[in-house]
Amino acid sequence: MSLIRIICPNGHLGFAPLKTDSFLRGVEASPDFIAADSGSDDIGPVPLGSDTSTSPEAWQRQDLEAMLLASRRIGVPMIIGSAGDTGTNSRVDRYVAIIKEVAAKHGLAPFKLGYFYSEVSKDRVRRAIGSSEPVLGLDGREPLSEKELDATDRIVAMAGVHPFRKLLEEGCDVIIGGRSSDCAIFAAAALHRGAREADAYYLGKVLECASFCAEPYGAKETVLGAIDDAGVTVTAMHPDQRCTIASVAGHAMYERSNPYDEFVAGGRLDMRDCHYTQIDPRTTRVTGQRFEPAKRVRVKLEGSGKVGERYVGIASVRDPYTIAHIDAVIAWAKAQVVERFGASGYELHFNVFGKNGVMGDMEPVKTPAHELCIVVQGVAPTAEMAEELCMTATRQLFYARLPEVKGTAGGVAFVLDEVLKASPAYRWTVNHTLAVDDPLELFPTHTETVGTEG
């Protein structure tokens, strides 16, 4: 007898739409919860810094509508974490608005909607920097400095299970979360039903990317995870997919530094002694996971800061002599930029595709291709300067002075004789942890009733 069964239809809701057939199969399997994560830091620092989504609203709305209608139809809670790619307050508000609009559109009977925010003020972080518990760096970073904090535009905290559990305890039928640990979205539901922490967090870990834990490869398909007396099971809902020992164990290492530890606000899931058993062709059972509660709760912070406005230029080369001397060509363009703008106060980047455009200095292939494409990025404090900077660098590739070049009418080819306005450049300024006394402190929760009477 299962303690809890959860379906997950999408590993990053909004980034690409869920697949309907396996989702409906999942819904028909009578789960206790329908849950999905909707965010990622994979998308780079621009959406968080500029408070935008990288996912089209139409795709977000489509999946939220499918999940809301299904969860109301079978009468089970729906949980979303990391709303709108970044989990900022404006993204939570957008998802809350979509839920209300979908409820009104379909005349759904009243239900309780809960949501929480994850943004953290710079003042709150600044207080910690000067305290006896500094804001510690992750992944080899130094503790956060006031200077880096000053360079930051927006910070979100990564919620653990706490705000989700609070909203479940308050009887919410639909929960929209700000930035959250992927696995906490599911673990909270399992803990709410009385599961062991180790099983709850493992269930979350394996479900967070939906069908990425199944084979053959095929994203955005629904999977069903369950906890019973013996541990965790996970089952593929797509008729041609299977959750195998290899696919489930393999997923434990996906997108993480090592396959053994998953850190969340409040503890660490230890997967060192996990044991995997195939119990039917589409289902694998996992046992042996452990959970070690943290002695002190530290919450992960993500922060992004604006570097400048950005323009992009594109130039290509076919002359083999020019290709052999591409470094000199780029040096010429840089020198022209320095002549006009000086040596600092901007950023200029050249990605040379056909040489090492994808891998940069890590590229082991040293022989260039027969043609190159150079992507130029100019970043500067104002859009006007970024445009001129990028235009100077791109157009001067055309005028580069190579002593023995035969083609003296122009050194590069252009697909566009212009530079293109891109998103402003941001960078990840904060990848740190903040100590808290109350794990709910950074995640204020709200509830309201949505829907129409009879």
Partner: protein
């Protein structure tokens, strides 16, 4: 000698957070996996040499038996998505692994 791409089912790379890229080499046949391990064709030192990076940039190197996988993680030189980053997701950094010669 056999190319690694002929021995492994999956060879991939992807961000592990904003400061690291992680690489997974996954085998379907445990005997093949064990032969590759025994060959010592894939070690932290070999990876460091193949990618031209100092060994200190390798944050983790794990032989992960439950999934018949070799997994290693490297630090980026600047965080993902900074201007000039050519691979925001870190998804195309595995290609040099495909051609590693394994003496099996």
């Amino acid at each position: 000698m056999t190319k690694l791409s002929e021995l492994a089912k999956t060879i991939r790379s992807k961000n592990a957070g904003v400061d690291k890229i992680t690489f997974d080499i996954i085998f379907t046949d445990r005997a093949v996996y064990e032969k590759v391990l025994a060959s010592r064709a894939i070690t932290a030192a070999k990876i460091s040499s193949l990618y031209g990076i100092a060994q200190e940039r390798i944050a983790d190197f794990v032989e992960y038996d439950p999934a018949c996988a070799i997994k290693f993680t490297i630090y980026r030189t600047s965080p993902s998505g900074s201007a000039g980053d050519s691979d925001i997701f870190g998804a195309q950094q595995y290609a040099p692994l495909l051609d590693i010669d394994v003496p099996v």
